[in-house]
Subunit: 139 residues, 4 copies
């Protein structure tokens, strides 16, 4: 890990009714989907290479590890932002940290990190991230 | 059913990556969730009574029957609109028809209808829709 | 449609906690997933051709239309059976009817039908069901 | 954390078709739901107090933090076991570790831990786990 500072990006979304569980809150596993959705949008908008383009090239980013802390649940109708950013990237993959913020209260709902690795879609096996791709994401 | 014409409303959304299934399309059951999400938003924006307010009053709208026709699947990253509108409402409930349109192609992805009935949240049993509520939704 | 009588098959499952929604019942779209899961298992067990084999041959069964009637919701921890059976099959596809039964009360939770068509996985387009496959499913 | 050894419990399940995502594997957030489902069943079977009983008493266990490592994805039709067990429990909550094993290959698919806290369903706030409950779960 270098001391390089990478950019952070923010995407806004809204809770969907089917995200709510028996506790009248967004179900715990759904927050992972919120981060993934935000990250896909940010790949396209800010890094100039959408997940669809990755898939078209025969590659995919898949999740290797996740840690998530649940601080304040989101509820029905809530609007929230997902702020994400790479904190480390190398030939083996990258770590992306995230904060999901309730836009009404401005308070953190959940935060944590995802470790992503690249896979070859045909083999399903992990592959090295090319130097060009590392550069592309090192903004 | 009277010959009254009711308003139709449109809400725009985007496919979330977790909506995609093994066929690389939005999974068939998820379209129901898209309609529900649109309907909740339209209750708040256009009818002036959000689902949250309903719930606060001790009532909920639940689905009694659905018919859905799948014409053209949505895929990763697609933007779509959900147009819905009541075609019949009475003391027993209402029928809402919908069309989900792919905003890139302007073609219909799915269409169909939902029959909703009101329930009392405490008993979980169906209750009559009050005349005031029928009027409120008869726009 | 001939007057042939086709077999009906039953699969037992249990509600998963993430299936429960804000009304403390199984979410309405999830019943479609229960039918699909039962149907996949029944393809393998009773028709001798699993969905995985279909996919391996380059084909998939996808849903063209669904109608579903919600009678009595399932709740947390409920065990249920899904009974399905073809009522019509031809070169264009098949119609499968289903009943989801709460195993505690023996009462019907939901019932309805699915129309399935076959697609070529490469093109994503519908293809004719071969006579051999029609025969295979006409049990 | 004491040096007490707690029991570990195993529950078997099967991948549901709607769990599969665009990479033809179980979607990353669904593994959290598998652990939750296993844990609910184990509460009932092995600890003698089901989640439904908890809810009936006005309490719920909710997730405070999760860490999960994805080693080998599960696919369509796979059977798997979820082994879980408390490694620490006190008045503030408990940590449960888990391993999801593919029953065909006997290899670990995912592993990690959940931190649970108790909440009062009326207030939605965390409450202390009673000594009796700590004892009940300390098997």
């Amino acid at each position: 890990m270098t001391d390089k500072k990478y950019s952070r990006f923010t995407t806004n979304h809204k809770v969907r009714p089917d995200d709510i569980d028996m506790f009248n809150h967004v179900h715990n596993s759904i927050y992972l989907d919120y981060v993934l959705a935000a990250r896909y949008e940010q790949m396209e908008l800010f890094y100039g290479m959408s997940m669809e383009e990755f898939l078209g090239m025969g590659y995919g980013w898949v999740v290797k590890s996740v840690q998530i802390d649940y601080k304040r649940p989101l509820g029905l109708g809530d609007h929230f932002s997902v702020e994400t950013g790479i904190i480390e990237i190398n030939r083996k993959g990258c770590r992306v940290t995230f904060d999901i913020i309730n836009l009404k209260t401005k308070k953190t709902s959940t935060s944590g990190w995802f470790d992503f690795v690249m896979i070859d879609l045909k083999t399903g096996k992990g592959v090295e991230v090319s130097e060009e791709m590392v550069r592309l994401y090192s903004i």
